[in-house]
């Protein structure tokens, strides 16, 4: 840090372009969005400048609060499911030989590179009646006739877990490769079974990173749009879907803006908590 040079005039000049881009195309749009959230909505047109709190009051309606609680709830649940599976998976992954290790990483990264649109669409088919997994069960003689599992709450949860899973693995991965194998070996030499070692040594050491991974999944799934839209009924929609629906189909941009700011504050809160946890666990 100390060896950094004093900035020259040229250095500030170089910064001008990127900072201008971020200010013009992120901060100013955000500012316009904040202003719009106080504007008056005009049916059939867009909006007129005004200063009213109607859109914000609407956020306090039980209907909206119920939606907000639902989307926070399903995203928290997705976080739990994801971390619950991703943690043991990543732990085993980091202890594998190079070939299996790299192959599994490629599988994870391939899943990561799938567009949310494609994930939603394939699970739509997999959980559908026409050509989904139930057909395989019928074929195997385990079921009498194919059934549809979407749209449903479980389908949305599954889709959210799918898109977040690779990110969750990649967050846990760097820390778990740094977990000293001598610790687990010591526990086992002292007579602990592999199970007991996993529960009493590995998990307590990794607790902060587990929490960080969980919160990351939470924020990530909160931003997901297509999954809930395709695999759920309107009662399974998350905040992102409501915002997009208000902004496009309902043409109520002022209310969409108010909801978007609410979502921003919620995400910033969670990101702040993650930052706090990470700065505390740097020394693992």
């Amino acid at each position: 840090m100390s060896e950094r040079e004093r900035p020259t005039r040229g250095a500030y000049g170089v910064l001008a372009f990127p900072v201008a881009m971020l200010v013009i195309f992120f901060l100013i749009p955000f500012g316009i969005m904040v202003a719009t959230s106080f504007y008056h909505r005009v049916e059939g047109a867009f909006w007129t400048p005004a200063f009213e709190l109607d859109n914000w009051e609407r956020l306090l309606h039980p209907v909206f609060l119920e939606r907000a609680v639902f989307s926070i709830g399903i995203c928290l649940l997705a976080g739990l499911v994801c971390v619950g599976i991703a943690f043991p998976f990543t732990y085993f992954l980091t202890r594998m030989r190079r070939r299996a290790h790299v192959t599994l990483l490629i599988v994870v990264l391939s899943a990561l590179s799938l567009s949310e649109v494609i994930v939603a669409f394939t699970w739509y088919i997999l959980l559908g009646r026409a050509s989904g997994v139930s057909n395989i069960l019928v074929w195997l003689g385990l079921m009498n006739e194919p059934a549809a599992y979407q749209p449903s709450f479980v389908a949305v949860l599954l889709g959210l877990a799918y898109i977040a899973f690779p990110y969750c693995v990649l967050t846990l991965y760097p820390q778990l490769t740094r977990l000293d194998p001598e610790l687990t070996e010591a526990a086992q030499t002292m007579g602990a079974s592999p199970w007991r070692t996993f529960w009493t040594v590995v998990i307590p050491i990794a607790r902060p990173i587990i929490v960080a991974g969980f919160l990351l999944v939470f924020v990530f799934t909160l931003g997901s749009y297509i999954i809930a839209f395709f695999l759920g009924r309107p009662e399974h929609w998350t905040l992102s879907v409501f915002i997009a629906d208000q902004a496009s189909a309902q043409a109520n941009v002022p209310f969409a803006s108010a909801m978007a700011i609410f979502l921003t504050l919620l995400s910033l809160l969670v990101v702040g908590v993650v930052g706090l946890i990470e700065s505390r666990t740097r020394r693992i």
């Binding site: 950094r4 040079e5 004093r6 900035p7 250095a11 170089v14 910064l15 990127p18 900072v19 881009m21 971020l22 195309f25 992120f26 749009p29 955000f30 316009i32 969005m33 867009f46 085993f92 980091t94 030989r97 790299v102 599994l104 990483l105 490629i106 599988v107 990264l109 391939s110 899943a111 590179s113 799938l114 567009s115 649109v117 494609i118 994930v119 669409f121 394939t122 088919i125 997999l126 026409a130 050509s131 074929w139 799918y162 899973f165 990649l170 760097p174 490769t177 740094r178 199970w195 996993f198 931003g223 749009y225 297509i226 395709f230 992102s240 997009a244 902004a247 978007a260 921003t264 995400s267």
Partner: protein, 268 residues
């Protein structure tokens, strides 16, 4: 424990690969409707992808947007990463946070912000609107990769160049920039792939006039499944998996993802 490990790893691999299997089967099924078990093999749907004018337009839009917005993202990120990591600038943390903020927040925030911005400016439904929106949103990725490269770079190299009489500009051009190129390429590739996949920003900013591949897929799905969609998806996946496999062969994938170098040696 061994049984538990086998169960977890197998279940996860099946879960992650299930969508890939479905669309691959769907894309080579000759019938218009996806069915199980498939009733033959045909590559017609891939052919349609390259002959149908609608899909052609979408492919062109998506590739143009991904290629130019990723380039613009690198142009935004490189000076930020370089100046913030070279000079002592008081506002550095604020500027860096501004650089990663768009990507940290749910994409719907950028999407709606950009929508109201272009409506206010009166410049609606153009392809450049999407390019700029994607560039700002995804500039975080090259910003992170290039900043990391700046941190791990050997400071002695640019210093030696300056001791030998090179001015700042020459030092940057001949020493620093070449050292940053790999991280710029990684950042570009990440921004490119994510831009290609992005839906909600493209849709809200210019979804009715500039139909990118994800937007076209979703519009198509409203009218039901067509195997062409599965063919598009397979093409996407093959591109991505090839990129990562090449990475694993020629680069060190594990190190790139942040693995501890010591452990890697032990696992051999």
């Amino acid at each position: 424990m061994r049984v538990f490990r086998a169960v977890v790893v197998t279940a996860v691999v099946l879960f992650l690969l299930a969508p890939l299997v479905v669309i691959t089967v769907g894309s080579v099924n000759p019938s218009r409707y996806l069915q199980f078990p498939p009733d033959g093999f045909s590559l017609n749907w891939y052919g349609e992808l390259f002959t149908d004018p609608g899909w052609q337009d979408s492919i062109r839009y998506s590739l143009t947007i991904a290629a130019t917005s990723a380039a613009l993202a690198v142009l935004i990120a490189t000076p930020l990463a370089f100046v913030l990591r070279t000079y002592r600038i008081r506002l550095a943390p604020v500027i860096y946070t501004l650089g990663i903020l768009p990507f940290m927040l749910p994409p719907i925030i950028s999407a709606l912000g950009m929508q109201v911005f272009w409506l206010s400016v009166g410049h609606v439904g153009r392809i450049e609107n999407v390019i700029i929106a994607h560039a700002v949103f995804f500039s975080t990725l090259p910003l992170v990769t290039i900043s990391l490269a700046m941190e791990t770079m050997d400071r002695a190299l640019p210093e030696a160049a300056q001791t030998l009489g090179a001015d700042r500009r020459t030092t940057f051009r001949t020493i620093t920039l070449p050292l940053l190129v790999p991280s710029m390429i990684t950042g570009y590739a990440a921004a490119f792939v994510l831009s290609l996949n992005e839906y909600i920003i493209s849709f809200l900013v210019a979804g009715f006039t500039v139909e990118t591949l994800p937007v076209k897929i979703v519009n198509g799905l409203r009218y039901g499944f067509t195997p062409t969609i599965a063919a598009v998806a397979v093409v996407f996946i093959v591109i991505a998996a090839t990129t990562f496999t090449l990475f694993a062969i020629f680069g060190n994938l594990m190190k790139f993802l942040g693995a501890d170098p010591e452990i890697l040696e032990k696992n051999g």
